[in-house]
Each structure stands twice: as structure tokens, then as C-alpha cells.
């Protein structure tokens, strides 16, 4: 059997014996599948999420979030203090992300080499980035294509003399609908489901959608089998069927949070598994403008400012825009009753900008921890401390200043209760407002770490070639291997690093 197999097409328990079993079909799993299938390996991919195409993408949040996101759009830290946007579908997060594409910054790679013994250099990764950029049509946005929501941030930064630029996006024939986060309705977004997965399938790979991996069976230094339970495509309830894969090599590509949880469920708790999970925790400011912004239309993200990425010993942060659709806005807007509903009534006039903290570079910074929920899914704890609070305060001040400089009538923070800013004199109140769990809205759309790469088995989970330190035929290829946050949106880095790792998997296959 080859192609993409839905849960309702699996009518009996299956046993398959490919060369490679890949768990997860996001950017990491998809590109590894493509590279190995191209090299002639027999590849099976198991994906928990469903296989959805543009015909199903109805541009409605109430449909998209339960269908295409982890925990039906409800994923969060255990104390609900940080909302987690993370994709769940054939193609993983690439089906729902906002297309922002960056190469890994050189200084981040240098930090990984110096501190963790990682092997990655800009030179090593360059051909992988170049190929990914070609395959995904990654191109820099023209300023004329930027919507008013992004333009407000851009112009505010320019007026203050801060560095800001348009970003690159992985699209072809983009109509700039604004619905990237709900699945591209016109197949302009070059997701893994439209690129590397079909590439893999055309070379004989099989993708089992609706197949949740419970555990990896292993003994000694060898993984023997991957056990998947088949889900009904509509309800996502178990059908009772199982897929048992007995491969020569296993590649775990479930993404940060799900990959460490799978290792933990499988009894592979050695090293730093689940520890040092990074989120780029983001705070936001809502800016009200006299003229309509209509942040629900147009490319959701098209500009970014890394002006504050380097702040000495304090955590850096970067600024981007966020789309302003009603459900996501309702989740984020501060307060309740007239304060919230009043602000919602002005939705077309609201510009939303976010500041993402670059976590993982502080001395002794621990980040988040993934453990197991009673149902076996990942439980995420991410304590906020003084380093976060300092960064959040500086972030909100920067966002407020940018929008004030651009002529916003008024800004509101996501504190409980919200702080209103109408001029620079209000910035002191913004800085003084209390922070802490559920005292101010915090979000993450970038999950990294938890199976970090490194030379020291006590501090990491996989070695510098992304092979598990103890199980010799087990690899991890996704954002979970990053030793720190990236300081940029992670999709393109996940593709390139996983593409590089596929070379090592291929060599191991040849040796086996």
C-alpha cells in the first residue's frame, strides 16, 4: 500500500515492515520522508492528525481550530497561563502556520556549538536552506503587499528609527486572503502536505493519517516496533484497529511537546527528555486606530522587527503582527463584559502586535517541562520568572511606543485588568502592572526543545547527528531538538535541520 491512508480505510490490524518509520508528518517528518524515499528507502509515516485539503478549509475559526490544532485548539500550559497554538494534521503545523520563513540565525548556531557541542554551522545548513526555499517558493514580501495591521507595526518602528523589514513567506500565487491559520483555501501556502509529503508518496512512501502512536517498543540499544492506534477521521475516537510497524530505523518527528511525550510513554526517560522546552512566549498589545485596519484580511504576518533581539544579559525579543479574527480575538481580548465586548465591537479598528521572548539563552534558564497527562498526552508546565517579567514589560512598552508613534488612538494591554495607554506618560503604569500566571495573556505559536541535541547525554536527548544517545536506531527530527529558542519563526529551521539529519539516517540505513 502506498499513498495517504485515512483511518477509516484501515479495516484490520496491520503489520508493516519498512526500512524507516517516521512518527509525525510536520516539516521535520515530511522532509525526512521525502529525502529517504528519494534515496530508495521504504518509508512509512504515522500521523495522528487527519488528512485535510483545501475543499475542507471553510475559513471559519470554529471549524478550523478543533480540526487542525492540538487538543482541538485548546492546548495550554497546565495552569492555562500560556495558550499553545500548535498544528495537528497531515503536514503538521505547516498547514496552519502564518508562513513566516527565516533561516536560523548564525549566532544561535554558534551558541549551540559552543554550549552544547552541536555540529550545525551556517555552511553545513546552507544547501538545505537553499533547497527548502526553492521547493516551498519562499520569497521576500514586497512592502506594497503588507496589510494595514502589519503596516502599522512597520511604520511605527520606522518612525522610531528601529530596524524592521518585510519577511519571507512560503507561498505561490497567494491571494492574501488572511486565512493561513485556518488552512489555505486556495493551496497557495506551500505546506508540507502539498510539497514534501507528496514528493515522498510519489517515491513509494505510505502516510497513515488518523494514526496515534502510543509507544515505541525497544530493548537494549534497539527500537523494534512502533505501535499506532487508528482513529476515526471524523470523531478522532479509536476504531480499535492498530498499525504495528517494525522498521530498521525509527524517526520521531512529533514536534516539541509530542515527541518528548512519546519517548516518556515508551519508557525512554534518559537524559533531558521533556526538559528545557522553549516557547518564544509572546505578549501582545491591542492598538485602536481611527481608520479601519481590518486585520482579518491580508497576509497575517509580513513584517518583523528584530531591533530588540540582543539586549545583553536580558532576554531579547522580536516584534511581529498577529491576525485579528473574531474567535482568536475573543480569546485574547482582556476583561469581560462591556470592557471586552466594547473592544470587540471595534474589531476592524484594532491592530494586534506581538512581542516574542527569545528564551533559552539566560544562565540557568530552565524553560518548560513536558511530563505525561493521565491520558498519556503531553502536560506542559512553563513557570514565568523575573527574566520573563522584565522581558514582557520591555516588550509591551516597545509595542506601545511603536503604535503611539504611528498615531494609534489608544492601546490596551492584556493584563487583568487591562492597562490603557494613550500617551508616553502611561508607559509607567504599563510597566507597573502585575505579571504572573493569568495576570496577563501570554501565548506561544513556536514550540521548541524537549529532545535537545548535544554532546552530553545528561544535558540532551539526541547526539549532534540527532540520533538518540542510547537507542542506536532512533532519531529525532523536529523542533524538539533545538537546544534553545531560535529568535525567529521556526518552520524553515525545522525543515533544514531535519533535511540535514536525513543524511545521517541514510548513512545509517546503508550501514545497517
Amino acid at each position: 500500500m502506498s499513498g495517504i491512508v485515512r483511518g477509516d480505510q484501515v479495516g484490520k490490524d496491520l503489520l508493516v515492515t519498512p526500512d524507516v518509520c517516521i512518527v509525525g508528518s510536520g516539516p521535520g517528518g515530511a522532509i525526512v520522508a521525502s529525502r529517504l524515499a528519494e534515496a530508495g528507502a521504504r518509508v512509512v509515516v504515522l500521523e495522528e492528525g487527519g488528512h485535510h485539503g483545501k475543499d475542507e478549509f471553510d475559513m471559519q475559526e470554529a471549524t478550523a481550530y478543533p480540526r487542525l490544532y492540538q487538543d482541538r485548539g485548546n492546548r495550554a500550559t497546565a495552569d492555562l497561563s500560556i495558550s499553545v497554538l500548535q498544528g495537528r494534521a497531515v503536514g503538521g503545523g505547516t498547514v496552519v502556520n502564518w508562513t513566516t520563513s527565516f533561516r536560523t540565525p548564525d549566532d544561535v548556531l554558534a551558541f549551540w556549538r559552543d554550549k552544547e557541542g552541536a555540529a550545525l554551522t551556517p555552511e553545513v545548513l546552507r544547501p538545505h536552506f537553499e533547497e527548502v526555499e526553492r521547493r516551498l517558493g519562499i520569497q521576500k514580501v514586497d512592502l506594497e503587499e503588507v496589510n494595514a495591521n502589519n503596516r502599522a507595526l512597520y511604520d511605527g518602528c520606522k518612525k522610531l528609527g528601529w530596524s524592521v523589514d518585510t519577511i519571507s513567506r512560503n507561498v505561490r500565487g497567494c491571494l492574501r486572503t488572511g486565512y493561513c491559520g485556518m488552512g489555505c483555501p486556495v493551496d497557495a501556502k506551500q505546506s508540507a502536505a502539498l510539497t514534501y509529503l507528496p514528493d515522498a508518496v510519489s517515491r513509494g512512501a505510505t502516510v497513515y493519517a488518523d494514526c496515534r502512536v502510543r509507544r515505541i517498543e525497544w530493548s537494549g540499544k534497539r527500537a523494534h516496533a512502533v505501535i499506532g492506534e487508528v482513529l476515526h477521521p471524523g470523531t478522532q475516537e479509536q476504531t480499535g484497529r492498530t498499525v504495528r510497524v517494525e522498521p530498521r530505523i525509527v524517526v520521531v518527528s512529533g514536534g516539541a511537546l509530542n515527541s518528548p511525550a512519546l519517548l516518556l510513554r515508551s519508557g525512554l526517560a534518559q537524559g533531558a527528555v521533556g526538559r528545557k522546552t522553549w516557547l518564544h512566549p509572546a505578549v501582545a498589545m491591542l492598538a485602536l486606530y481611527r481608520e479601519p485596519i481590518e486585520g482579518f484580511y491580508g497576509a497575517p504576518q509580513s513584517v518583523a522587527s528584530h531591533h530588540f533581539a540582543q539586549r545583553g544579559t536580558d532576554a531579547g525579543f522580536f516584534l511581529e503582527a498577529a491576525p485579528v479574527h473574531p474567535m482568536l480575538a475573543g480569546l485574547a481580548f482582556p476583561g469581560f463584559g462591556p470592557q471586552m465586548t466594547g473592544q470587540m465591537g471595534l474589531l476592524p479598528h484594532v491592530s494586534v502586535s506581538v512581542a516574542l521572548m527569545i528564551d533559552g539563552f539566560g544562565d540557568g534558564e530552565e524553560g518548560g517541562t513536558v511530563t505525561l497527562r493521565p491520558d498519556g498526552g503531553p502536560r506542559l508546565d512553563y513557570p514565568q520568572g523575573p527574566r520573563h517579567f522584565e522581558c514582557f514589560r520591555a516588550s509591551m512598552k516597545a509595542l506601545a511606543r511603536a503604535h503611539l508613534a504611528n498615531g494609534a488612538l489608544r492601546l490596551s494591554s492584556l493584563h487583568v485588568p487591562a492597562v490603557t495607554v494613550t500617551s508616553e506618560k502611561d508607559l509607567a503604569a504599563l510597566a507597573a502592572a502585575p505579571l504572573g500566571p493569568n495576570r496577563c495573556g501570554v501565548f506561544t505559536a513556536h514550540q521548541m526543545g524537549g529532545c535537545r541535541m548535544g554532546a552530553d547525554p545528561a544535558r540532551s536527548v539526541v547526539n549532534p547527528e540527532l540520533r538518540h544517545h542510547f537507542v542506536e536506531n532512533l532519531w529525532v527530527a523536529d523542533g524538539s531538538v533545538f537546544p534553545t529558542g531560535l529568535g525567529v519563526n521556526p518552520m524553515e529551521s525545522i525543515y533544514a535541520v531535519s533535511s540535514w539529519a536525513a543524511q545521517h539516517v541514510r548513512s545509517a540505513l546503508a550501514r545497517a
Partner: protein, 198 residues
């Protein structure tokens, strides 16, 4: 770190202890029930009623300090449908039906505690369930949870607020009231044409 999971156990434990000390009649004051439109799949009738009452206040409209430049824009919106017209509690019930057992248990404990008259008194509120408070008292009750020094109550407030807001604003019949035209007609036509539909 205090977590959502730890909290309900601790606070419920504390409430039970005080109840045992003589305040049992207060703890037993009953939820004001409302009829659901559809058979319930997740909530009990009492839980449905508590959530419906919360959603009504979370989504309440009223005086707000709108910037004068935008007062006209706000006035031009069609009236917002009431949460009950959108059936927020019914839609939440359907959304929550597949929730895993552990999370379901927590949410149910939260709703019970939120409507518990004894817990209201212990936290500075009136001696009655949330569902039997006046709207002003209900708003004060929500505010106390939202800004509580106990992280766990803030978590509880956020859970109820976000669920109410997500269900309500995710419903297309509320779009016009917030000035959101929905997916642009032209785009919907283009997409449908590409799919070979009228």
C-alpha cells in the same frame, strides 16, 4: 508551581473542611436551573446552567469608554445577539463532549466551586450560588476570580471566560456585531468556482 490540576483538589478540600465545621446548609444551596435546548452530552443540567449564567455576564454589553473618534463606528453595528440566542452553553456542551476524562473532571469541579455559596462567602462574596446572584453581584464575583491572589482561581476564571468568548465569537451570527464581514464574498466565489460549485 501551583497548577490547575493541583488547585481544585486543594480548594475543594479546604471548602469541604469548613463545610464540615457547620456551614453545610450554605454549601447545599442549589443552582438556579435553566433548560437546555438540546440533550446534553457533557454538562449536567446544573453545570449547563452555571456555564450559561457565566457566559451571559462575560458577554454582557454595556457602557464602555469608547474613544470619541470611534463612537460612530460602534453605534453603526447591528445589535449583538444574546449569548442564549447563539446557544453558547449548548455549543460549549457539544465542543466539550470529547474532552479527556481528567480535564472533564476538573472543569466540572470548577463549575461546582464557582456556583458554591459557601465558597463565595469564604472569598468575600454574597451567601448564594452564582446563578442566584444579581447581575452586579455576578460581575463582582467574576472580578474576584479574575484578580484573585490565588493563581488557581485566576486559572478558573480564564477557563470559563475563554470558552464563552471562543464559542460566541466563533459563531457566524455574531460577526456583523463586531464589524467582521466574514470571508470576503469575492474570495468565496473564487474558491467555489475552483471547486466546481455554483
Amino acid at each position: 508551581m501551583e497548577t490547575r490540576r493541583g488547585f481544585l483538589k486543594k480548594t475543594l478540600g479546604g471548602a469541604a473542611l469548613l463545610a464540615a465545621a457547620g456551614a453545610v446548609p450554605l454549601a447545599l444551596r442549589k443552582t438556579q436551573l435553566r433548560a437546555a435546548r438540546q440533550p446534553l452530552r457533557f454538562f449536567t443540567p446544573a453545570e449547563y446552567s452555571v456555564f450559561a449564567a457565566v457566559a451571559e455576564r462575560v458577554l454582557a454589553r454595556g457602557p464602555w469608554q469608547v474613544p470619541p473618534e470611534l463612537a460612530g463606528a460602534l453605534r453603526s453595528r447591528p445589535p449583538a445577539p444574546a449569548p442564549s440566542e447563539v446557544d453558547v452553553a449548548g455549543k460549549a456542551d457539544a465542543f466539550l463532549a470529547p474532552l479527556d476524562a481528567a480535564s472533564a473532571k476538573e472543569l466540572k469541579q470548577l463549575l461546582a466551586l464557582f456556583d458554591n455559596a459557601l465558597f463565595s462567602v469564604l472569598t468575600g462574596g454574597p451567601p448564594r450560588p452564582f446563578t442566584r446572584m444579581s447581575p452586579v453581584q455576578q460581575d463582582e464575583h467574576l472580578e474576584r476570580w479574575a484578580t484573585s491572589r490565588m493563581a488557581v482561581r485566576r486559572t478558573g476564571f480564564q477557563a470559563l471566560k475563554r470558552l464563552s468568548a471562543a464559542v460566541y465569537y466563533g459563531a457566524p451570527e455574531t460577526y456583523a456585531s463586531v464589524g467582521y464581514p466574514g470571508p470576503p464574498d469575492e474570495l468565496v466565489r473564487t474558491v467555489n468556482a475552483a471547486r466546481g460549485r455554483p
